[in-house]
Amino acid sequence: MISLRDIHKTYQMGDVLVAALQGVSFSIDKGDFVAIMGPSGSGKSTVMNLIGCLDTPTSGEYVLDGVAVDQLSSNDLALVRGQKLGFIFQQYNLLPRQSALRNVEMPMIYRGVSGSERQRRALAALNLVGMGQRVDHRPNELSGGQQQRVAIARALAGSPSVILADEPTGALDSKTSSEIMELLRRLNREQGITVVLVTHEHDVAAYAARVLTMRDGQLIGDQRN
């Protein structure tokens, strides 16, 4: 599903070149649940941005679901993101003035999905995350956990190949965190959805089936729970 080979990423910070990733290689199989861990500055966010097709590597190969995405233009990357990826963010990133349903429908707008199919899929996704009774609520009428559930539904609705979660519990209390992680684990186990998440919390990483550990731009650990 995901295959990274000898990925390097170098940033220009003023006059200094910063090597954020120095030859990272790993693969993630379909249906796996992977947590990427590491302290800040370890390069885990950079890996996440690359997997998420938000950025391209300086060198190396990245194949996502059969598509070599490492040299695509930014518009083609947007297409790949829309079709193959679902995103979950730490801050939920819901549109504040739109209902939960409209928020879940939103990514499908850019794929040209008809209104009726968008709604069917959005409702199914909201049901799946247990938000079926709050489809007309706006984000400010929902708790943090509920908002994150809507965000998960948004990631699910477009039938992505992979769901990418960037610190999905970072803004939640521990009880809600475990609920959200339970939900992700259930989606992974019962629906066979591939999940990749970035976290620095061991409790969160414990839900994953496989943990990749990063430090100083290199992969230093790869273990199964």
Binding site: N49, G52, L54, D55, S74, N75, A78, L79, R81, G82, Q83, F87, F89, N93, L95, R97, Q98, M106, P107, M108, I109, Y110, R111, G112, V113, S114, E117, R120, R121, L123, A124, A125, L126, N127, L128, V129, G130, M131, G132, Q133, V135, R154, L156, A157, G158, S159, L183, R186, L187, E190, Q191
Partner: protein, 442 residues
């Protein structure tokens, strides 16, 4: 297993395999469907910020309103001036002595237009209402108890026809007066009042250059025109002016000078033909060579004056509209300003949209449409407000200032143009945002 009923699934229901989410999505990756959705998104965000949207539109509203009202008033004023000139008569051709090349100072010195020229023009039997030679002089008119310096104009009876003059009292200069070079005078209404007060002027006598003239007629007040009041002038037979009052004998002593000759065409469309026919005759009579030597007379074509005035008034209208256009420009800059603020405020939203699959043209479209909707709506409101003044002015009868289709088109076209022009830059900034940075934006 599939359940689409929202309310059938309580929150505690265990997650069920939901087959719809595993069906492939049936959709094109681009197309008009998604663009239409983008337009809907734009409307939504404008409606969410009603007060700001309205304030942003204000600039365009004021700009379009002033363009519309100034264009309508300008066109109305233009039509009114044209109408006034057409009332005087667009069918008039005036030939005066002197050459256009000699400058105004020498024009009066050129005294080569004669009574015989006038007679020769008359002999051409042209399709004219009348041929009216005249000799203008300024003179002191002395009455019993008052005197006044006035224009004393030597004329023939045709003058009355050509200029549509009507009598308040008495009669105009007649053919008999002309043939006899009689010492008679017709006074303009104001002049009569100045000389005789409220007393009876008709039948009284006045003195000009030691000649005594009898007042035979008073003209109806003509009102002021663009060319000065006709009511303080005096009219005498041209023969009297030439022979008795102002000694207008030609240098060769064989004839008498005239100041100008006025022709009134039956059809205004004949004016150009008349002009060339009369010019030809006069050149021949004045022995001017065909090799391009300048005319020693001027021909003023009323239609040409009308054309010139039309040019001036439309220039004025354009100028006023351009001034109003500046406020439209300022309105456009206001839109750009607010759109830039909006892009900055919604950086995270843009980042999110791009992260989940929006391409640059979707974002560009969203913001361009917002700017265009702002300016178009402003344009419509401005059009309505701008129509109020012209409608009131028309209703009051001050000026006929209709809002024509052209004005409406200009207003809407310009406001749309302003919106697109000033919306592109902020929209491009939004479209170029990097989703990673945009999502991190606080």
């Amino acid at each position: 297993m599939t359940t689409l009923d929202v309310h059938a699934a309580p929150e505690s229901t265990p997650v069920a395999a939901d087959s719809i989410l595993f069906q492939p999505i049936t959709a094109s990756s681009s197309g008009f469907g998604s663009l239409w959705e983008v337009v809907r998104i734009s409307f939504g965000s404008l409606l969410a910020n009603k007060v700001r949207s309205l304030l942003t539109m204000l600039g365009v509203i004021i700009g379009v309103a002033s363009v519309v009202s100034l264009l309508a008033l300008g066109n109305g004023a233009s039509a009114s001036i044209t109408g006034e000139i057409e009332a005087i008569g667009t069918n008039i051709l005036t030939i005066s002595a002197g050459s256009q090349n000699r400058g105004p100072g020498n024009a009066t010195a050129a005294q080569n237009l004669t009574m015989d020229d006038a007679k020769a023009i008359e002999a051409l039997q042209l399709p004219v209402i009348g041929v009216a030679p005249q000799l203008n002089s300024s003179a002191q008119i002395v009455a019993k108890s008052a005197d006044k310096n006035a224009q004393v104009i030597g004329i023939t009876p045709a003058f009355q026809v050509v200029n549509n003059l009507t009598m308040q009292q008495g009669s105009f200069i007649s053919d008999e007066h002309l043939q006899g070079a009689n010492t008679v005078i017709v006074l303009g209404s104001t002049l009569a009042k100045d000389l005789f007060g409220n007393g009876q002027a008709l039948g009284q006598t006045v003195r000009i250059n030691n000649q005594t003239l009898r007042v035979v007629g008073i003209l109806t007040p003509q009102g002021g025109s663009a060319f000065g009041s006709e009511d303080d002038r005096a009219y005498i037979p041209i023969t009297t002016a030439q022979k008795r009052l102002f000694n207008a004998r030609t240098p060769d002593g064989n004839g008498y000078r005239v100041g100008s000759i006025t022709l009134s065409a039956i059809n205004a469309s004949d004016l150009d033909a008349l002009q060339s026919r009369v010019s030809m005759l006069l050149r021949e009579r004045h022995h001017l060579k065909l090799d391009g030597s300048a005319d020693d007379f001027n021909v003023i074509n009323q239609a040409e004056i009308l054309g010139t005035l039309n040019t001036i008034t439309s220039m004025m209208t354009l100028f006023l509209a351009a001034v109003a256009g500046i406020s439209l420009l300022v309105g456009g800059i206001g839109i750009m300003n607010i759109m830039l603020v909006s892009v900055t405020e919604r950086t995270r939203e843009i980042g999110l949209r791009k992260a989940v699959g929006a391409r640059s043209h979707h974002i560009l479209m969203q913001f361009v449409v917002e700017a265009a909707v702002l300016s178009m709506t402003g344009g419509m409101i401005g059009l309505m407000l701008g129509s109020i003044i012209p409608i009131i002015v028309t209703q009051l009868g001050v000026l006929d200032a209709p809002i024509d289709v052209q004005t409406v088109g200009v207003a809407i076209g310009f406001s749309l143009g302003v919106g697109l022009f000033f919306g592109i830059y902020p929209a491009q900034r939004a479209a170029k945002l990097n989703p990673i940075d945009a999502l991190r934006h606080e």
